[in-house]
Symmetry: none
DNA sequence: TATGAATGAGAGTTCATTCAT
DNA sequence: GATGAATGAACTCTCATTCAT
């Protein structure tokens, strides 16, 4: 019973990701989401309070998953620069692997005012904090210059990845995102590296 | 008559900037815009085709103004790195000077699908192209490393500025944006500089 | 322009009386009201805030009219008992003349909680106060017994008329309401008269 | 099993009385009723056909109880006037004893069209018939004037009690209902009494 | 018997857009 | 050019009712 309930919720959430990504939050109809999930539209309201709530839940849960996956992978590496490299690579790979979710995160995350003020900020903030953690390690390791402003650096990295991904999506994915990742890595690491 | 017409159009456009920035595109009512401009809502339709058209026009004209202003200022400098420094400084200053317009550009620009596919991409693309132009100059001047991917670099710069600005706005402007600008400059220039 | 605006409002109000009377407040659709008034349903919302607001306005305005008409007629008479007789006669005549409005007053007035607590109580209260005024006159004239509780008497008169009318309507109007009026007059006046 | 069934049915019926009285028929949710009765909402449909059916059953059974209780008490008295006096007193006492049920009877009874046309009329009609019976006795006893219209008189008595009770409830029960009862008795009996 | 997840008809309301004045 | 009354498509959300378990 419990599993079933969770399953239907997941179906709706997944459908919502797809529909929001395709049409945008405001142009997405609850009926579309329900239809895609194979349920009646009333059913959506058994699991979510409002349409906006669906977006919030997506962000809460999916972003969470994303971040924990990334940092699990990142944890394999043994120094800060390698970790950052990995982080960038993985995140951009996800854009290819899971384009709908990424599109939603990048393009739609900013739409609903309520949403912006609630979870989105804190989630992105948390993510940037984790990046800052890596940067701090890098400073301790002597690999990153100690005068670096961690907030600015982490924000720039997050936004830079976002920007590259957004552009790639909007330009119809006609070039190799992995190469961009390498360039981004060089650029960012060049900017933060501790030079002798 | 022509001047007058232009004036009323401008009033509406300016009001729209304010209203879109405050409420977001989808939550902004045409009536609000008209009211703020001191005209009847029917009047809006004498100057613009649809609500979306207003957003497009804002982007077309206001972004144009922004970019040409920035590059006028940037033109004063005599080498690529100084130009980039200037560009970053000016653009972040504008976030403070003209927060509504900037907010609109950063947060709302991505909302309307029609819009995304029409002018926004090309305008941002144009802007990035100009940044690429500066980077190219830098390579020619020997200040920027020649293996730099210009697209990635320009996108990252644009997005990085955007990200810093967005975060600053969402975090209620409680810290000094100029200091961030300096950090951003160091980070970016560090990443692209040609090292001996 | 002003007249026109008022006219359309009246059309909607009149249609609402008919529709509410026919279907009851909760079963009446705003579309029905609009259709009967010959306007689009959106138009209703130019004149009234919500469906409930329509009911409130009806009560406010129509009851007002009713009461002032009744007391105008009643004013012709020169002693309290004659006035009461007239009041009963006129009010029951109105049930025949204006059945929809009366039905609404009698059957629907009590439906919306918001409504009950706002205007309806006070309107009926006002009406009963006026009846009490007549009773007071009657006491001064020596026609009504001075120990009569005016509140109870006025309430009973109001409710009695209401009850007779309601029953008449529910029993499909198959008997003569005027005869009932006479009986009601005798009964009530018998109960309040000052006996030597 | 039979007893149990009856018990659960009663629980639901009692909860419905409370919920309908509190929220009104149309604003009451079947879920609320079920919850208050400590059962699942599906269970309600094992005992009642529709939400409206619950109201009808309440009326059928509860009104029945009320009426039979009243006439049991009334039967103690030995002449018509005493019986009427008792009837009025008891009925108004019930308003204080059992306010929810009374409120339902007085305020909500008129809401559902189906209901009005089915049981409510006949139940009230039956009650009025019984009052008429007492009045007839009164005429035979020479206590009530023989020219009295029994229908009008019984209706007026019923409505008068209803009106007094309704007003008392709507005015937050801030005065003594027993005193009103005495006044009502005097007024009504004064109106019907056979005078020498 | 009892449950409660699922349904889906249906309502109120909003607001971009039109057009007669 | 300017107005703002009127429109009606379209949407979100509710809740009585059903039915598989």
């Amino acid at each position: 019973m419990n599993i079933k309930k969770g399953e239907k919720r997941q179906q709706i959430l997944d459908s919502a990701v797809a529909v929001f990504a395709e049409k945008g939050f405001y142009n997405a109809k609850v009926t579309d989401i329900a239809h895609k999930a194979g349920v009646a539209h009333g059913t959506v309201y058994l699991y979510f309070q409002t349409k906006e709530d669906i977006l919030i839940q997506i962000f809460e849960e999916k972003f969470e998953e994303l971040v924990s996956y990334i940092f699990m992978e990142v944890g394999v590496e043994h120094n800060a620069l390698a970790k950052l490299r990995r982080l960038i690579l993985i995140q951009l790979q996800m854009v290819e692997t899971n384009p709908e979710l990424t599109e939603l995160m990048l393009l739609e995350a900013r739409q609903s005012s309520k949403f912006i003020l609630s979870s989105a900020i804190s989630k992105i903030g948390d993510y940037c904090d984790k990046i800052e953690g890596i940067l701090k390690e890098g400073i301790e390791e002597g690999l990153v210059r100690p005068d670096l402003d961690l907030t600015v650096a982490s924000t720039m990295l997050y936004s830079g990845i976002e920007g590259i991904a957004t552009r790639w999506m909007l330009e119809n994915k006609h070039y190799n995102l992995n190469l961009c990742a390498e360039q981004l890595i060089q650029l960012f690491i060049g900017g933060i590296r501790n030079l002798p």
